[in-house]
């Protein structure tokens, strides 16, 4: 019942996908207990292309925006120490807003479509990236900082040449967690008409036809793993010193 309510709500605001459904005839109707319909999958695999690209764009843009904001907040809190806790609390509050509610709360401001989705998804990444950046900066050995200061590094040089390079592992670790959750939450962007793979889960056919859902879910998971692998590679390339050990 709740699914129907949800779909009704989504249909009111965004969903051109309901029209799409009505023009389709559901395949595999002769074998209703089959979980995965290979015939349908073979005939309809093309329809996942555009949503996948949309999904990836949404995720990457959200992560870039989230990283930019969280990073700026972290640098601010690094200079103005007393802001650390209030900022952590603020990003924490954002994190607790239920995602569907967050989408609809923003509708009057940013309207339907991708922009709203990106704002919401970026907001969810702030907590993790901000917190991890702060942890990374806090873990910089005090001796390295003191030596840099004593050698004539300015505060700015200490930040950009010593502290931030040393914080990269934690920052990227935060990005990796943020990327995983963003890829998943982005499926809900369909409810504000932002497209993405959510269209193939909540829209194509209906929630009682699992084949489309399974394909979309598989793409979502693959995307999450691929992003994770990319970020891990970035981390390894930017921190060669982490793998250097005695011997």
């Amino acid at each position: 019942m709740s699914n129907q309510l949800l779909l009704a709500a989504a249909g009111d605001v965004g969903g051109d996908f309901f029209r799409q459904r009505s023009s389709d005839t559901l395949p595999c109707q002769s074998r209703p207990d089959e979980v995965f319909c290979f015939d349908w999958a073979r005939d309809n695999i093309d329809r996942f292309g555009t949503p996948t690209v949309q999904h990836l764009e949404m995720v990457v843009l959200s992560l870039v925006l989230g990283l930019a904001i969280a990073f700026a907040l972290a640098l601010l809190a690094h200079r103005v120490r007393w802001l650390q806790t209030p900022l952590l609390a603020a990003t924490g509050v954002l994190y607790t807003i239920p995602s569907i509610a967050f989408f609809f709360l923003l509708l009057p401001i940013t309207g339907l479509g991708r922009d709203t989705a990106i704002v919401v998804l970026a907001a969810y990444t702030l907590q993790i990236i901000y917190r991890n950046t702060m942890v990374g900066l806090a873990n910089v050995p005090e001796s390295a900082r003191e030596a840099a200061r004593g050698m004539g590094f300015t505060d700015r040089q200490i930040l950009w040449r010593v502290e931030l390079p040393l914080a990269i592992p934690e920052i990227v670790a935060g990005l990796r967690i943020a990327a995983l959750s963003t890829v998943a939450i982005a499926t809900l962007a369909v409810f504000i008409g932002a497209g993405g793979l959510g269209t193939q889960i909540y829209g194509s056919g209906n929630l009682t036809f699992p084949t489309s859902i399974l394909i979309a879910a598989a793409i979502v998971m693959s995307m999450a793993l691929a992003l994770d692998a990319v970020l891990l590679t970035v981390q390894r390339l930017t921190t060669p010193w982490r793998r250097a050990r005695a011997g």
């Binding site: 050995p141 050698m151 590094f153 010193w241």
Partner: protein, 390 residues
């Protein structure tokens, strides 16, 4: 060195540091001059303000009143970051940058100063060689080096831009005693070559005596109790505090400041292979003989071994002496080490040789103990001893 080396004097003029809220100043009107090219050790118990005093020089501690001059220039008139690039800085925790290679660490200050890449690389290689590390280590990261190697790199990094002054804050404090000794010796060897003005902070009086051209003994409140050469400090402590701090064994410590050549050695009766034993016995019977054993030497007067009673039974001196030679000392050896060799070799006498290996005399435990008991060891006179590392 390819780069020219430079050094400036450091002069404290009534330099005072007050921390807000503290009743007493951490450093109180410190006045002290360190001549260019000398090592000045600031030594004292913890909380005596020695590190604070040192850090006034590069303004990592701001001066409340008074001034510190490098050469003729007040540090207060300089922009701190610019000033610090002209001052080498070595701390106990070393503080190498874990994310930079050894070469990049050494090149940190030159990079800040805008040197060209080629010049920085050449300088890193040169400094690695100077501190006795394989230049191939330049591509490693600090985590791949031992603690001692890291501390050497810390010193090289401080020297990279040819600073006017070096500040060293307990640089060997976290190193195990054996490696510390080695690092100290290496540092003295290095200093003999580069002749920097060094301010060195330690709480270890032995380290201060070993390394310092001058020592400032400080006590709580940043006051200097005595500023003197190590020998003066050991012979004539200015106050009870200094006397206590230097320790009851200060006569013994003086041995660290002397060389074997500085003391009157004994003469041993010499014997040559094939010489008639009667002649040797005659020498032994002489009334003024100082060493009761004949020392066998070769034709170049190089010691071969001690002869025992049994060796003298035959008509001629044998070519293989009965007793082993034991420790052989050199005129240039530090007296403290010579005493250690004697005690370790469980021998009462040790032949001392000149740089060519020829016998110059014999040192005995007795000579040293007589010296320690003599008024000379305690007198206020400046002894004619040279600093071991000069």
């Amino acid at each position: 060195m390819n780069e020219p080396t430079q050094a400036s004097s450091v002069r404290y003029e009534e330099a005072t540091k007050r921390y807000p809220g503290a009743a007493e100043p951490a450093v109180d009107r410190l006045t002290l001059e360190v001549p260019a090219g000398e090592i000045c050790v600031l030594v004292g118990p913890s909380g005596c303000g020695k590190t604070t005093a040192m850090r006034m020089v590069n303004r990592t501690v701001e001066i409340s009143e008074g001034d510190v001059l490098i050469g003729d220039h007040s540090v207060r008139e300089r922009e701190p970051a610019q000033l610090r690039r002209e001052i080498g800085y070595v701390i106990q925790q070393i503080g190498l940058f874990p994310h930079r290679t050894i070469s990049e660490n050494i090149g940190a200050v030159p990079q800040l100063m805008g040197w060209k890449k080629d010049r920085i690389r050449a300088r890193s290689t040169e400094l690695l060689e100077l501190i006795g590390l394989d230049p191939e280590l330049g591509d490693r990261y600090p985590a791949q080096l031992s603690g001692g190697q890291q501390q050497r790199v810390g010193v090289a990094r401080a020297l990279a831009a040819d600073p006017l002054v070096m500040l060293m804050d307990e640089p060997f404090g976290a190193i195990d005693p054996i490696n510390r000794e080695r690092l100290q010796n290496e540092f003295l060897r290095l200093q003999a070559e580069i002749r920097k003005t060094v301010l060195f902070v330690t709480h270890d009086i032995d380290e201060a005596i070993k390394l310092g051209d001058r020592i400032a003994v400080m006590r709580e409140g940043g006051r200097v109790e005595q500023y003197a050469t190590p020998a003066e400090l050991l012979m004539a402590p200015a106050t009870e505090f200094v006397e206590d701090f230097v320790g009851a064994d200060r006569a013994l410590k003086r041995l660290a400041l002397m060389r074997v050549a500085d003391i009157d050695l004994w003469e041993a009766p010499l014997a040559h292979v094939g010489q008639a034993t009667a002649e040797v016995r005659a020498k032994l019977a002489a009334p003024d003989v100082e060493v009761p054993y004949p020392l066998l030497v070769d034709s170049e007067r190089r010691p071969l071994g001690w002869l025992s009673e049994r060796d003298l039974v035959a008509d001629v001196v044998p070519s293989r002496p009965d007793s082993p030679l034991g420790p052989v000392l050199e005129l240039a050896d530090v007296m403290r080490d010579a005493l250690a060799d004697l005690l370790q070799g469980e021998s009462q006498y040790a032949p001392v040789v000149d740089p060519q290996g020829r016998i110059a005399g014999v040192l005995s435990v007795e000579i040293i103990s007589e010296f320690l008991a003599s008024p000379e060891a305690k007198s206020d006179e400046q002894p004619a001893v040279e600093r071991p590392h000069e």
